[in-house]
Symmetry: D2
Subunit: 281 residues, 4 copies
Amino acid sequence: MFRSVGIVSRTDRKEAVQLAAEIVKALEHRKLEVKSEPKLAKYLSRPDLAVPVGKMKADMIVTIGGDGTILRTCLRLPKPEPPLLTINMGARGFLAEVEPEDALKALKQTLNGNYKMERMIKVASFLGKKRLPDALNEVSVSSLSPAKLLRMRIWKGAELVGECQSDGAVVASQAGSTGYSLSAGGPVIDPDVQAFVFTPIAPLTVFHPIVFPADSTIHVELTRPRKAVVVIDGHYQAETLPELSRITLTKSEYESSFIRFKGNFYHRLKGRLLFSQGRIS
Amino acid sequence: MFRSVGIVSRTDRKEAVQLAAEIVKALEHRKLEVKSEPKLAKYLSRPDLAVPVGKMKADMIVTIGGDGTILRTCLRLPKPEPPLLTINMGARGFLAEVEPEDALKALKQTLNGNYKMERMIKVASFLGKKRLPDALNEVSVSSLSPAKLLRMRIWKGAELVGECQSDGAVVASQAGSTGYSLSAGGPVIDPDVQAFVFTPIAPLTVFHPIVFPADSTIHVELTRPRKAVVVIDGHYQAETLPELSRITLTKSEYESSFIRFKGNFYHRLKGRLLFSQGRIS
Amino acid sequence: MFRSVGIVSRTDRKEAVQLAAEIVKALEHRKLEVKSEPKLAKYLSRPDLAVPVGKMKADMIVTIGGDGTILRTCLRLPKPEPPLLTINMGARGFLAEVEPEDALKALKQTLNGNYKMERMIKVASFLGKKRLPDALNEVSVSSLSPAKLLRMRIWKGAELVGECQSDGAVVASQAGSTGYSLSAGGPVIDPDVQAFVFTPIAPLTVFHPIVFPADSTIHVELTRPRKAVVVIDGHYQAETLPELSRITLTKSEYESSFIRFKGNFYHRLKGRLLFSQGRIS
Amino acid sequence: MFRSVGIVSRTDRKEAVQLAAEIVKALEHRKLEVKSEPKLAKYLSRPDLAVPVGKMKADMIVTIGGDGTILRTCLRLPKPEPPLLTINMGARGFLAEVEPEDALKALKQTLNGNYKMERMIKVASFLGKKRLPDALNEVSVSSLSPAKLLRMRIWKGAELVGECQSDGAVVASQAGSTGYSLSAGGPVIDPDVQAFVFTPIAPLTVFHPIVFPADSTIHVELTRPRKAVVVIDGHYQAETLPELSRITLTKSEYESSFIRFKGNFYHRLKGRLLFSQGRIS
């Protein structure tokens, strides 16, 4: 049963704000409690709805935007995360499913309980002992200086996997395997495989992408330089320190959940240009 | 407890045959029953030991050779397969562990029970309803004509994954992920991930390698041409037919087992040139 | 001045044959001599026009089809080749420029002299001393057996470039750099660079594509096995022999010439799906 | 005739400084004028020899170090550059030829005129109208922020080649084609091909490396964001500005020249781990 619903939307597009207004109206008509991120609340002239995403406890979150909006929202939501109803109003919408014109219908269906829940595992990461926010797509490590290679050792638990010299590296979940990791030459990982993929970026020495079990503990140990930047889902950044240069990655105890109606992983993949769709005979 | 031991060896290298003779002697000294593949038995002047690999029921098999020897043996052994003690006397020995000079010591350790067992899942494949021999490394599909592309549809159960046009494709196990699939751009799959990887060979359209759960059922449906050749572990071939042009792949109920002493997957990988090991600073 | 025109067309599509008929009519109306390949002549019910492509001396050739039709025609035309006016009626038309609806207009423009000529260099290849037909796109070498790697040494003149183990290899011209070589991981070569690219197919050992000057002499020496198949532009095949296992490649003294009206190399490349064109912001 | 010789050396390795001292001694014994970069001069306790690399006019430069030392030196030398005698005392020595134990012999041979000169073209680059230092290896463009893609348009003169979204891009010379560009998936370019290669780093959309003629003018136009960092040969950095976001690349009027004794491009390539050299049969 849904009693409260949070709304997160891009505000740089008029249609997005307008759709958000219609959704608020529909939800309030149903006597549901509505929360809106403060910036959107201002655009909606509804300061009474304002709640920061980091405090948005709700039974469901509606996002209006593309993958960027979803990733940014999942990074900040209180854990465990409420399920997301994702309206696609971005250029890149692999994670988002519902087209804007179907938004109100999808909302109604959801409130009536006619949907499937897609759960996606997340990557927990630690810098030394400090836990960073969970990643839905990927945790990447890059050099702080554009002219310097990163040298790193990759460990699976206590087992040395190999040494790698590259611009950086990505550890991606199944969802993230279709994003930055794919650009760097990694494989697509079926959502039913409980695994992460380690993909180096422009490696100097030969180092292939490796698919690790999601419940293993992967360590990326920076050896030279020891200062680098860790980026989570493209939105959160943390710097390593000489004395804090080991990033540990494993499966989070939390997941992100998506309200889905039709389609599936491969259908979304095909619809989103990651595979070419030319009629070539 | 080991009572009977089979021996399979390359016979084109004198040292291999000589080592086989020493192993036979050591085994018979221990009063174990020895079986040898017929060609080797002839080289050993021991026709009494001759048993074809396909009928070699034994408590353990000793292989002397490289990965080719191991793959060829596993293809033919009666199921379930006895565990393999693999002496490396080939140029490419990712699967083989024991160096020739350590062979007798390793044999003794094994008979005394001092070893670890490494189990590797295998790919079961079907051409229409006909089951082909299980693959330890990979099942590949190639055009029968060197000038013709294969067009295929990939299915995960009843779900269409995508269409691919390429020279061919490989479905590899974790062990096989370090072989032909890697050459074609596929990832390394950690042995703890229960998964197969589908890797196209020189795809005309963009089609990335995909990691599927080992217990899913993958169909490769040839659409044009419908005649192609299926190759298993580089040694077994079967041709598809216009009316029989669907290859089905899933996890076999059988495994291959390897007697191991030290090292591990990544250690073998590093030792075998699949990753470069340059001292580059 | 054009006095005689040859026509080559696919005959498996009605629209192609119909367009060929219209072109014949337009040419004869202008009092030009028309030659047609025999199969098309039969479809046109004009046996009087029949001339095999291998004997088709003419001032211009009109092709109706895709890249396959063009490659097949250029392989067989007497040398030096007449320029080609290429009507695109195939699924893959990187080389073909004119859309069917513009065919008659383009023909008129050509006869009036309003066009640009695009010249493309071709790859001459020799098996031992025997010259094979020139390639417009590429010369490839593949294993005769789908389960066997080719081992080869690559030479630039007398200089050993390296040894390669792979499924095969491609030597492509600039035009061909957008075809099979690209699928195998090779770069696009700008038509103003006088170069060929050597691209291995699924190499076992690390071997990157190499761009050689078009006027150098490249030798591909098969070392094991020595039997393989050489394929030129996907249409001509020759087998190597143990005593004849060295393929020599250099720039041909002949070119193929294309009648062009607008657009250019990169415009055609973009229009043909080799680069994705997603609106992704 | 050599009258003056400059010396540039890494000073973080004792053997390098010691070898530099021996070379100074040998040169002064021959009555040649010696110039040393100031830091090395200090280590040699020869402040009288100190001349900054940027003012080191000489008939020859001796470098002691790896590729980094050579690239850094060529960036700063007054133009036209004196030829380089390169002693390899680095981990990565594709450009360096002479091993330390052969250094004095090579020096003697050079002074006696027994050597070949290898000339390498350089990439001239402009940020708006400002000329940046010539690159021996490559000019790269990267995002200033590790979480942001670069969107760029690539032009060959006035012709739009394509649009690319990626972490960055590299334009490499033939020498540089074996470095960063190779790591990012670019081809090796034979030194006899007068060409540059454009290679994107981890492209989001499909965009293949392109080989352009060295005498063409390539523009990389940053569209979003417009702020990025241009890095030349890993040592020189310049930032683009919103109003100055177009990088123009062409062949420089200057070259770098290397004193060579034996070996060649492919021999150095093989010796330097860029191609694997496994004995795999």
